[in-house]
Symmetry: C3
Subunit: 665 residues, 3 copies
């Protein structure tokens, strides 16, 4: 496995969608345009295996040979998201059963249960045959498993049986299940293993401990389904890389679990070009990219990158304005992408994705977007080798856990209190303050960071609590928020004042709380500035903590809303409410200044700055992800890595323009 | 049955949710805090009968003994809302079938068909065993049947069969059915009893006569289901009271039918503490309480009273501000509650109701809300015996009927015309004018009232029409509204000018109508003041009536909108449109002044005044159910029943403050 | 078949809903009021055939005799929309299966699958018996098939089989199916005819070529179902007319196909009397009427005309104001109705349509609306014979095709881009400019028109493209819009620059497009006026065309938005965006002035002018369909056809007033 490669550009190509007469000219235009990587194969099961056990590789041989002959390297997607019609006709148990009891019919995609024995058998065979066939193909460098894994919430007999086994493996006895899930409520106690079933009907009134475990089981089912493929490919193609293309978070499946056996994570990035999204989209995109990098704490690939307006089963989006495609591709590299594969080479003329536009339109006449892509390929190819092996090295991390998201989805705490949306606000506050951050799983080691922001540690285990306390004790700054320490790992409320296991280190106890929801309340900081807050208000008793901000209205007015506590060599902040972004920006800048973080400054709207450092030096990416021109004051003059000329200290960037400067060590 | 008791406080307690080690300290703290009543047992079927026919009473013996030892009296809830898993596994016919055809699965609550023969058999057995066991327990004083009865809209085979029998019993022949339901429309005529089924699929295009009868059948199914329990308990526990805890109206089931065999009605009262509900919540709460008192025209219990923010399968509400809990408990007593049982002692740490907060939070550290509850218990205990046997004695009644609600639900008359919402406006107009009123079923005797307000007598039978006419003829003031006399008891339109049977006494005929819906039209009273109206406009021909207000726009401008007619010794008003609340306030005050009603005055927003009179005198409850301080001018000085000091004539009340004064006869 | 008749008035009457004692007085009042036509029979299957094979005609004989005796002529509706309960009990395969898999149960109407063999057999028998019985009845003049045909989206076994046969008949081989539908996408290739099924589950992710063909199949199923009836009636009643009453478009079924074997189309017209609809309702009504006239390019009937507020399973509408009923009946005649049958004589007292009000209310006391109807009948009877044989003769046509509607429904192009709504705007722009237009199917001959407006020729075949080019080449003015030429007849995107086959004649190529959706962009015409636009923006390369308007913002600012191209003797306009109505009004008036169209002028809001010309001369209908009085300047003085007095040149009309003047040739 050769993970270290130059940063390169690629495209998604479906040779089976096109007359083979087009393949050669397509491949040549790719190569001439600077494309280096092509993803193929995904969804093509009915062409690879047109009938049960009859495999047809000729067309794919020819397609791969054509690409390879033009110097292109190939990622093959396994086609298991789309079992062909002969297969579902033969093995209808492959089709998932929805919570309503209806079958999820063929004719779409994703029409397969991860636990279906037939599906596992036939998936294993096609992946076995496919990976055998192309293990030695000189153009092939790696594999994508399936496509954008997601729950289907399947409730078929196979899922029922598998879930029952999963519960039995985890809890051993029904007494344990009843005890740890608290099934005594509403006479829900199990007296027979047969009573353990999926949540038929999907009622939201069901036991939250059970629902959380069911979601864990569903992610584990995907992991098990994928693992069959991973092991086959590893065995047949030991020198190839294996990845999976995750779609936009938040999603139902637990990416951390799924990525465990992969070489790196990939992401399908579709930033929304709507003028109404200008204020938020570049920031939620930045978070998505940082989160993807955090999945394996390693650089990643973009396996599908926006190339034109998406649409089809929903109305089309706006078309990306000039510069938008280029700027957002650079954004992915700036945040750790080592390859940017564009979806897709040409818009499909047939099928359900006709209006999910590619680089080239249906007419097959290359247009404005394609020319911008060609310019981008040239730039990336000029810089790609210098960026090889470079990574981001951040001093701040935000903790994330899919289980928090899911548990808070099962029991929404208050109107508007959304786990991931609140992470977005923290990340945006950092990004707008020039502070580049990692987003890592809450079980990760925290070494090397100066600040850990841990929003909503709603489910909290002892290990995490101890690691966080140790981090602060050793001199780190830990930022905690409301709705932390509420539950144990079984989604059961703890019988202790909140924030429970973190009460000591934060120096506060929650004496009561007000689920503020969509209402607005006010807080006031120690300089007398007022800020709006919403969602939640913890009323705090301060043991050893000091107030940093107080409530400025409500019956708990003048009591502490934000506190700071000395803990060992470090400090622990507790944020008892959800302040508006402006307050969080101010807070992170104040703390960052105290800790002398690198790069802190208030950046103009849409401007994002990150740095990749590697064997060939440091490269600072200065992106204007807004449609308006901006002025940026750099602290010195630098050499542009794009054209070698001098830049700064004053830098002017047009809308959607990009600068990359070299930083001397 | 000893119905007459001092007014007392209680809590809902689920011993099975807690480590038995906590029971003693919980009971002691209850007793020390002034609690007198504890409700237990509801939902605990899987603990009472862990397997088919195996009963385990030891834990409940111990729990009840602990409570009793601490001086607490006990209401036992029958656990029939939550059949245990072994039972639904053995008898899947217990699970309801939804209109979609799906089973209503276990894992929640209410997963039982009222007509299921298995459910009836097993319910009878558990209630038999439970009531035998605790008939002689010295702590037990009474029973709650099931919990918050509601339709499940079940369409299972048992319901189909039962409905067929119900129709046969009511109509004898299919000819009658076809005739009285008017099934000739759309060729819906029945030619075989087998064709009579529940409304599969739930289409709103179905015959309205059939749909109304189906809703009657559903309420009757609940009655029959409950009656089994009532008879068993009466037989085993002749000295105990039996009640049921109704949830907030409007609901699907007919409370009047269900309460018929009960000793008194109970209500689960959850006033919404949101600041956005300040203007409406205290008034809709007041109506709920008056309506509950009207179910049996007798004082009632609160079986579940708000103790903290509810939430769980929906986002949590705001927490009640200081004073809110106390004020709203006093509100229930002020309107006829003889016991106020708070839900619940402590918030559950497990299961689906974790965030339906109790008096004590998960931490088990009593906080602000608990202290307020303790103060309240002390106050109530000081006053409880003096209030024993006291009732409200009102001069005004609003007529209500669940069948009107349902019939108007089947065929919404115009956008915004909502039966219960319109009753709310009438009740709010009275309440804000200081006029305390009863809300009684339209079949009740009307003796003793000076004013009867009868909104939307849409379905009208001859008996009701005659009683109303007799009421007015005998000197009463009867207020009728648009959409009266439209239909007979079979939900069939009458072939007569509206208001049909009430046309003579009102002295008007509706010559046409305009379903105004959400549009606004104007009316003008006889002093030239203009008011907005909406929903509906009857165009009236006046036979003997006089106009009180006229329309001020539309093509029927200057024609009568509100009329008054002399009828015998009394008067009949007809309100042909839905005027804004301000007009109704003015109208009831004008009429009230003429009739010299007691207590009329324009009260500040949120202030409610009612009087309970009994063997120990009269007590006037002056409640400020708003967060703002208010000034109230009393007509004299009084002695405070809370602390014995003098109050008035000027009375100042803080937000959510309460005063109770003694009225000398 | 005698199609040419005087223009007459009618009513819908359901004798089976009423006591036979009422029939005679009803018929006499009809005749006295000027009614000439009565529709009966629709829905009365359970009375015509109360049990399998037992027919009861006595009641209907008596009803028809009563009507005939009073001089009324009769249309009989076949009752096949409402199979009786004994039939669906005997043949449950008649009940449709919804996409969810649930049965569509009886108890409503339309509960029958068009492809059910049982339904076809029993429908044929009842229509055979009914038409035999009344073929020679002296009062009967014609037939209405079924009622308001619509898809049920049935997915039953009969539909599955029928669809499979339909596909096989169209494509012969699965290779063809796979090729032309492009099923290779997502491995959707069929390998066995058994895999061809209805779209179970209804997912929007399905193949758009398949979905379009499935919708064609559904319309064809209706055609086949109706054809059985048509052939029986033609055989039994060769001198009677046959029609069908279409409900308001847009609807799911293809009216052009269904009307093919009928003598003329009928329409059920329910203009909304809400004051909120005043600005739009008269115009969308005008379009509905013009579209109905276009179905067979022939005058039509109104089979159900608004008589009072509709309502029932939805809240009632506002009541029609004085003049509304009369004005809207004249509107139908003004646009080609030769009979106006009002729904219904009297409001039903029973069943699901109780509040779909008739001319007479439940009370059976004729009121204001009935008196207005009587006045109208008198007017129509005075003018009816003079209007016999008269038609509209328009110079402008808008092209319409149900397949465009459906294809754009399957894949919405952008937020707000709605095929029929955009046709409405074009039609409104013409109507407000005094330009009377036809709305015809895009496959119709175009001879005789000066202007053809062809919005969204999204699906485009070569024949249509050639006819349009020939029309322009021969001197016509052709107006094309964005989203034209996108797809072939199989709903597959063409690989050519848009507008594809129309690129040459329009002289433009679309180089890219921006799906503007709900955002607003600006355009500027050649006089410097700015207009808003939305939905879409084509970026154009002009080959031979000249710009008429340019974009005034966005990255394509100053490039052409609207173009004009000389093509042979004529001109082709291309509208690359969706301008606001004001621009379209200006454009059609400019073009109309150049072509010297008749009647162009800016009419006051709500005023509509059309002319019927026939053997007895020309009659111009000047309608004020607004509630406000208006002034209209005619170009001369005319004689009123209503009362014979002089009118104009200045004409003042009250709200909802009507004038009809005679035009000398």
């Amino acid at each position: 496995m050769k993970l270290s490669r130059p940063v390169q550009m690629g495209v998604d190509y479906y040779p089976e969608h096109w007359d083979p007469a087009l393949w050669e000219q397509d491949a040549r235009l790719m190569a001439d345009s600077g494309v280096r990587i092509v993803r193929v194969g995904e969804f093509a099961w009915s062409r690879m295996e047109p009938a049960d056990g009859q495999f047809d590789w000729e067309w794919l041989d020819q397609a791969l040979d054509t690409l390879h002959r033009n110097g292109l390297e190939i990622i093959i997607g396994t086609p298991t998201m789309t079992p062909p019609r002969w297969l579902t006709e033969k093995c209808p148990d492959i089709l998932p059963v929805l919570p309503s009891g209806q079958r999820y019919h063929e004719g779409v995609r994703g029409h397969r249960c991860y636990n279906s024995p037939s599906m596992r058998t036939y998936s294993a065979r096609i992946v076995q045959k496919l990976s055998e066939r192309y293990a030695k193909h000189p153009g092939v460098i790696g594999w994508q498993t399936d496509n954008e894994f997601s729950f289907t919430d399947c409730q078929c007999a196979a899922c029922e049986e598998a879930f029952r086994e999963w519960v039995r493996a985890r809890y051993s006895t029904l007494e344990q299940v009843n005890q740890l899930w608290g099934t005594v409520v509403w006479s829900g106690e199990y007296s027979d293993w047969e009573q353990i079933t999926p949540p038929y009907g999907g009622s939201t009134f069901q036991n939250p401990s059970y629902l959380l475990d069911y979601s864990r089981f569903q992610s584990d089912s995907i992991v098990a389904f994928q693992q069959i493929q991973v092991e086959i490919i590893r065995s047949n193609c030991p020198d190839h890389v294996i990845t999976h293309n995750f779609h936009s978070y938040p999603q139902k499946a637990d990416q951390y679990k799924i990525a465990k056996e992969l070489d790196f994570a990939s992401f399908d990035y579709y930033p929304n070009p709507s003028p109404n999204k200008t204020d938020t989209s570049p920031y939620s995109g930045a978070l998505s990219l940082d989160l993807t990098r955090g999945i394996k704490r390693r650089n990643f690939w973009i396996m599908e990158q926006l190339s034109g307006p998406p649409g089809c089963w929903f109305p089309m989006w706006r078309t990306p304005r000039p510069g938008f495609l280029r700027a957002h591709s650079w954004q992915t590299i700036a945040r750790g992408a080592d390859a940017v594969v564009h979806f897709r080479w040409r818009s499909a003329t047939v099928g359900a994705e006709q209006f999910w536009h590619g680089l080239i339109d249906h007419s097959n006449v290359p247009g404005r977007r394609f020319k911008e892509f060609q310019q981008l390929c040239n730039e990336v190819n000029r810089l790609g080798e210098r960026l090889q092996g470079s990574t981001l090295r951040n001093e701040v991390a935000i903790l994330h856990s899919h289980e928090q998201l899911y548990a808070l989805h099962i029991q929404p705490q208050s109107e508007g209190l959304d786990y991931y949306e609140n992470i977005k606000v923290w990340h945006r506050a950092l990004t707008k303050s020039g502070i580049s951050s990692d987003v890592i799983h809450s079980s990760e080691a925290l070494d090397g960071y100066k600040i850990i922001i841990a929003p909503h540690l709603y489910l909290l285990d002892e290990d995490t609590a101890e690691r966080l306390q140790a981090f602060a004790a050793a001199g780190g700054t830990l930022i905690l928020t409301h709705r932390s320490g509420v539950k144990d790992d079984h989604n059961v409320c703890v019988m202790a004042p909140l924030p429970g296991l973190l009460s000591a280190c934060s120096g506060v106890r929650v004496t009561e709380y007000d689920p503020v929801g969509g209402d607005t309340i006010m807080i006031r900081d120690d300089q007398g500035n007022s800020y709006a807050a919403s969602q939640w208000a913890d009323v705090l008793e301060l043991d050893t903590a000091q107030p940093v901000a107080v409530y400025a209205d409500q019956f708990y007015t003048e009591s502490a809303a934000v506190t700071r506590n000395h803990w060992g060599e470090g400090e622990v902040y507790y944020i008892g409410t959800q302040p508006e972004e402006a307050y969080l920006r101010k807070l992170v800048r104040t703390i960052g200044d105290q800790l002398q973080l690198a790069g802190i400054e208030a950046l103009p709207d849409g401007v994002q700055i990150t740095t990749r450092t590697g064997p060939n030096g440091s490269f600072r990416f200065i992106l204007n992800l807004s449609p308006e021109p901006v002025s940026i004051q750099l602290n010195a003059s630098y050499t542009s890595a794009l054209d070698g000329t001098a830049r700064g200290p004053h830098l002017q960037l047009d809308g959607y323009d990009v600068e990359i400067v070299e930083i001397k060590a």
